[in-house]
């Protein structure tokens, strides 16, 4: 038995050395973009630049650039606001990792695509942050967006519109310290590869949480049964359908619209949302990376195209109402 384990240990050691060397030579080990606590929000380190890598073979390699406000964008939001967007139509695009856009070059983000589709008549500010949800968007809107943009688009997904706890707004102090502690692990490319390319930690954390939640729900149900064994209870009851975060959605003003994809958002007919929903049609396919569900360039183009079409409709509606207004005067 000892000989067997010695052999296995030697093989694993050789594997670790070989793989570490290979990763260092090829440079395909991913890395975490440095985080920062900006005004109490858990954002990214301004000025950080580089190539973000994902996938087991480093299939995704995209440039990122963090602006002074802590978002992945080549635009300086404060400067644009100070210059009044040079008289162009201003758009704020809020969302999670799909809008944060690491999977594609920052120079070809959704905002830049929309600007080119509209012949540079708009300026787009992308407020994307991974794991963000409607609670974050509501806080962000109240603190930085309201009254400053002509239009606001929020990317709505099943898992984001039902969350009530913000993930990055007002979380800067709590989460930033953890990030600092993790840095020592990230010197080993093997660790980085398993964490960021294969996303083992995130994946299995989520899986563990899911299983624990399911286990706890079962335990709670069985506890209720044991308290009153004479009472008949239904077995196999499904957990209640999640409700959208009404208060957060009611925060947004009339200039706000909700972008959605049919396969990722089932609340588009909700009374609070249905008049403000803008569907993203999957015109260009495939729109993700296969092994990673985030948008590839096709997905981003589909989103920019949907926004452009919606803006055209809004503009048309405005020009249609203007002749009547002048006639009434």
């Amino acid at each position: 038995m000892q000989g067997f384990f010695r052999h296995i240990f030697t093989t694993v050691l050789l594997f670790a050395l070989l793989f570490e060397g290979t990763l260092r030579i090829t440079g395909i080990a991913g890395h975490k973009i440095p985080a920062a606590n900006i005004d109490g929000n858990f954002l990214l380190q301004p000025g950080a630049e580089g190539v973000w890598i994902a996938g087991a073979k480093g299939e995704i390699q995209a440039k990122y650039s963090i602006n002074p406000q802590g978002y992945n964008s080549i635009r300086n939001f404060e400067q644009d606001l100070a210059n009044d967007f040079n008289g162009k139509v201003s758009i704020a695009l809020l969302g999670n990792s799909y809008i944060e856009g690491y999977h594609n070059d920052v120079e070809e983000s959704i905002g830049r695509l929309l600007e080119s589709y509209t012949n540079d008549s708009v300026v787009v500010h992308q407020y994307g942050r991974m794991s963000a949800n409607i609670a974050d968007y509501a806080l962000l809107y109240q603190q930085h967006i309201r009254g400053k943009y002509d239009y606001v688009y929020v990317l709505a997904m099943n898992q984001t519109v039902t969350q009530t706890t913000p993930r990055y707004m007002d979380q800067g102090q709590i989460k930033f310290n953890t990030e600092e502690q993790e840095k020592c692990y990230d010197r080993i490319h093997l660790v980085r590869y398993f964490r960021y390319n294969l996303k083992l930690v995130v994946k299995y954390k989520k899986e563990w949480e899911k299983r624990m939640t399911r286990f706890n729900n079962k335990w709670k149900r069985s506890s209720i049964h044991s308290q009153n064994p004479l009472k008949k209870t239904k077995t196999g009851k499904k957990p209640p359908k999640r409700k959208i975060h009404r208060e957060a959605i009611e925060t947004f003003g009339e200039e706000t619209f909700f972008l959605f994809e049919k396969q990722r958002m089932r609340y588009s007919n909700h009374p609070l949302l249905k008049d403000r929903c803008v569907e993203i049609f999957p015109v260009l396919l495939p729109d993700d990376f296969g092994f990673d569900g985030h948008w590839n360039m096709n997905g981003q183009k589909n989103c920019a195209r949907a926004m452009k079409n919606h803006l055209d409709v809004l503009r048309k509606a405005q020009t249609t109402t203007s002749p009547e207004d002048s006639a009434s005067e």
């Binding site: 038995m1 067997f4 050789l14 290979t22 083992l200 994946k203 296969g290």
Partner: protein, 484 residues
């Protein structure tokens, strides 16, 4: 749980550690542990599946004890039929009920008398085709006097539910595995190391070869009307590699895990794509099923003892049955029929028993020109037949093959046929894979010999690296043969 999953990566070391810790207590305790682990493994998919395996185990254990040699033949036959009816009944109900109901309705509708038949919304229990055949072989061998029934229920239940081979074979014979369950197992370093090599090479086949080409195969088969003939041929060839690597990879992993626990399972694949004729192919492909059908269907039908016409009839029956075993779809039956048609000429000429020896080790490594031609011809015909196996319907298969032979379009899309990532890496891995397996078949190298040398460690390390680099945890593909 899948062999290529983190769940199994945590499950196996625990099972291994406890198993060998229990060695000092005795084989019975080890068998209890194997039984428990096997039920956890199987119940991981769906705990309701366990009820079926309990049923099959219970019936065959009792029948095995009842088929006493001193009983009259008629009574022994009745017990045997009980076992066969119970197992085939279970298999028929879960796997074939909707197929027969649908075809029944279609037949009546065709003759202008439409009827309505119920269709059941039943899930196909994973591995049912494998363990029902495995337990039937136990009772049939007892009936034939080839096996003595065991009174050790734990050992028998562990034999039936042995988790490495439970869900996708090999279909073990009781005469091979049951005695191993009953005797003491001693840890052997060489056996365990060979087991890890089998496990790694099996994972390589599954993840680096099969899963890598699966997306291209799916897209080409789903959109065959959009592609040139060259790309359709590419899709068919890639599917041949996919099904071989997937299925043989699972079998190899099953053997590897069994070796880690001190068991020896039968060889299920013996490098079939280097076969020089169809007789040789069917001696090397899914050996556990083909030998099962030979021993329990072909020989009882008379085999080749009653003249060539009856032998040809029997060959047709066994190939159709083999096809039908794979699934409730006419494509599998047609696939079996095609193989029967391709096999029969060599039977008639008497060449099906040719090439019993493996490929010769030639001076310049490469096979002789004649062998190369025979290998390529056999592979091409197997690939054409596999198009039917892969297709969703017979008409789909017909359309695919017709388009393939229409010689339309250009072959330039071979490298990147479906507007996704280029397949160059996959081609490279397939070439390396086939070269290594060819060198092993011709005894230039021994892929499964594990020595305490740097080269041996390096080979294992490179296997692990290629497996990890090819892993896409988001899209963990199941094994093809799980659906059977």
């Amino acid at each position: 749980m899948l062999f290529n999953s983190i769940d199994f990566a945590l499950f196996l070391p625990v099972v291994f550690a406890v198993y060998w810790l229990l060695q000092r207590i005795g084989p019975r305790t080890q068998n209890i542990w194997i039984l428990f682990a096997s039920y956890v493994f199987y119940g991981w998919w769906d705990w309701r599946f366990l009820l079926l395996i309990f049923f099959s185990t219970g019936i065959d254990y009792v029948v095995g004890l009842r088929i006493k040699p001193d009983l009259p033949l008629a009574q022994r036959k009745r017990w045997l039929w009980l076992s066969v009816a119970a197992n085939l009944g279970m298999l028929g109900f879960f796997k074939y009920f909707n197929f027969f109901a649908g075809n029944f309705v279609a037949a009546f509708t065709f003759f202008g008398a439409p009827i309505h038949a119920p269709s059941l919304n039943v899930i196909l229990p994973v591995g049912i085709s494998f363990y029902t055949f495995q337990t039937m072989s136990y009772t049939i061998d007892i009936y034939r006097g080839k096996l003595v029934p065991t009174r050790d229920f734990i050992a028998f239940a562990a034999f039936v539910s042995f988790f490495p081979q439970l869900v996708a074979g090999p279909i073990e014979r009781a005469s091979n595995l049951l005695p191993q369950m009953l005797k003491k197992r001693v840890f052997s370093r060489d056996q365990a190391l060979q087991g890890t090599r089998f496990l790694l090479w099996g994972l390589f086949r599954k993840i680096v070869i099969a899963d890598a080409v699966a997306p291209a195969v799916d897209i080409i088969f789903a959109n065959h009307a959009d592609y040139s003939s060259a790309v359709l041929l590419l899709g068919a060839v890639l599917f041949s590699f996919q099904v071989y690597a997937d299925f043989s990879g699972y079998s190899l992993m099953a053997r590897g895990i069994s070796k880690l626990l001190g068991f020896e399972l039968m060889v299920n694949f013996n490098f079939p794509y280097f076969s020089r004729n169809f007789g040789e192919f069917w001696r090397r492909w899914h050996i556990s099923l083909t030998t099962w059908i030979r021993d329990y269907l072909y020989i009882p039908l008379g085999g080749s003892r009653e003249g060539k016409p009856k032998a040809i009839r029997n060959i047709f029956i066994i190939f159709l049955a083999s096809g039908f075993w794979h699934g409730a779809n006419w494509t599998y039956v047609v696939w079996g029929g095609i193989h029967a048609i391709l096999f029969i000429p060599s039977y008639i000429r008497g060449t099906n028993r040719k090439n019993l020896d493996p490929l010769p080790k030639t001076r310049f490594v490469l096979p002789t020109l004649m062998d190369s031609w025979h290998i390529l011809r056999t592979f091409f015909l197997v690939t054409l037949a596999s198009v039917v196996f892969r297709s969703e319907s017979v008409s789909h298969a017909y359309a695919f093959i017709t388009e393939l032979f229409s010689f339309r379009g250009s072959g330039l899309a071979l490298v990147n046929p479906y507007d996704h990532q280029s397949l160059t890496q996959e081609y490279l891995f397939i070439v390396v894979f086939m070269i290594l397996e060819y060198l092993h078949t011709t005894r230039w190298i021994n892929l499964f010999q594990v020595r305490n040398t740097f080269l041996s460690h390096l080979f294992d390390a490179l296997l692990i690296i290629s497996i990890i680099v090819s892993t896409h945890l988001d899209s963990q593909l199941s094994f093809i043969y799980f659906q059977f």
